[in-house]
Amino acid sequence: MVFSKISQVAHYAPNQVVSNDDLAKIMDTSDDWIVSRTGIKQRHISKTESTSDLAGHVALKLLEKAKLDASEIDFIIVATVTPDSMMPSTAALVQAKIGAQNAFVFDLTAACSGFIFALATADKLIASGLYRKGLIIGAETFSKTVDWSDRSTAVLFGDGAGGVLLEASDKKHFLAESLNSDGSRGEGLTSGKIGLSSPFSEMTESDPFVKMDGRAIFDFAIRDVSKSIKKLIADLGIDAEELDYLFLHQANIRILDKMAKKIGVSREKFPANMMHYGNTSAASIPILLSESLDNGMIKLDGSQTILLSGFGGGLTWGSLIVKI
């Protein structure tokens, strides 16, 4: 049997940092308001780099860390809801940037669960025995989908990218998985609506901007997602405290605190970096994982067991328990 394992992690964020005070200069908000409600102090906003630029940097870092030639990569999946274009996919642009001429590539759209869905998909590709090495990258330039005159959403999001190299292994690393969606609640978090428009169609609404029903999404995260995580841990038959760390999507520290309580695991096991990046959607979990590797929390030697959980637009939510 073939299994998959995460063998490298990397991240990249654009240089430009926009603080809460910078935002207060262009909209009616304050550092105090933003920090107390979200925990966010600053976010990275791309001045010139596209989503594929950010993802491309991550891909190159992964190859460098693994001492791999790009030609050895079998597939690239980019999870994003802010692609450079529909065609070519952001993954195709990354392929071109790094010269991965033997890879097949595609983008995966699952909002803030995108990285988790992509990683779970990649695991199955490798487990099929047909592919041995893949790059799975979450990358967003959310700044281009934010309505900068809407202070209820403009303060929340940031740009960035993170990813992993997944390789074939003879040992099982992916221990448990729970992937979920509920399209009936999809209107609670929307962006990038493109309506019908042709000489033969009735025009329907277009709206590029991200819009969120704050309360509905808050309830969804602390209630449905916490429950899903608890169930996954119980189904695996381990005690929640046996997990070394839980890497949750970095949307809001109040949500993280509440979810930690509901899941019933000590708060120290939930690393957080939304204070520096804001909500980077599909990039949020891999950026956090990469920083945790850099600061020594994660060792990549197979000795730790972690839970990764993404949740957001769709609605979608997905959790993985992996040995790392």
Binding site: R37, G214, R215, D219, R223, N252, R254, K258
Partner: protein
């Protein structure tokens, strides 16, 4: 347990307040509660009483919450 006592208990637990600070006339402002605090309290009340609270509009005091719950659970 009466509705008021349960609502009071939830607010004490969620917002870290003393019971004496949570009376029928107490407003969310009195409790220094921001919108997320309100969401949290409402969410716990929904779970505790097995009801759905459609909107937080019009729910400004503890008394408003108690009246709403009593209406929904009668």
């Amino acid at each position: 347990m009466a509705v008021f006592e349960k609502v009071q208990e939830i607010i004490v637990e969620e917002l870290g307040k003393e019971a004496e600070e949570v009376q029928l006339e107490t407003t969310f402002d009195d409790l220094d509660a921001d919108s997320l605090d309100v969401f949290q309290v409402i969410s716990e009340i929904e779970d505790a009483f097995d009801i759905q609270i459609e909107t937080e509009d019009g729910l400004n005091t503890v008394g408003d919450l108690v009246a709403y719950v009593e209406e929904k659970t009668k």
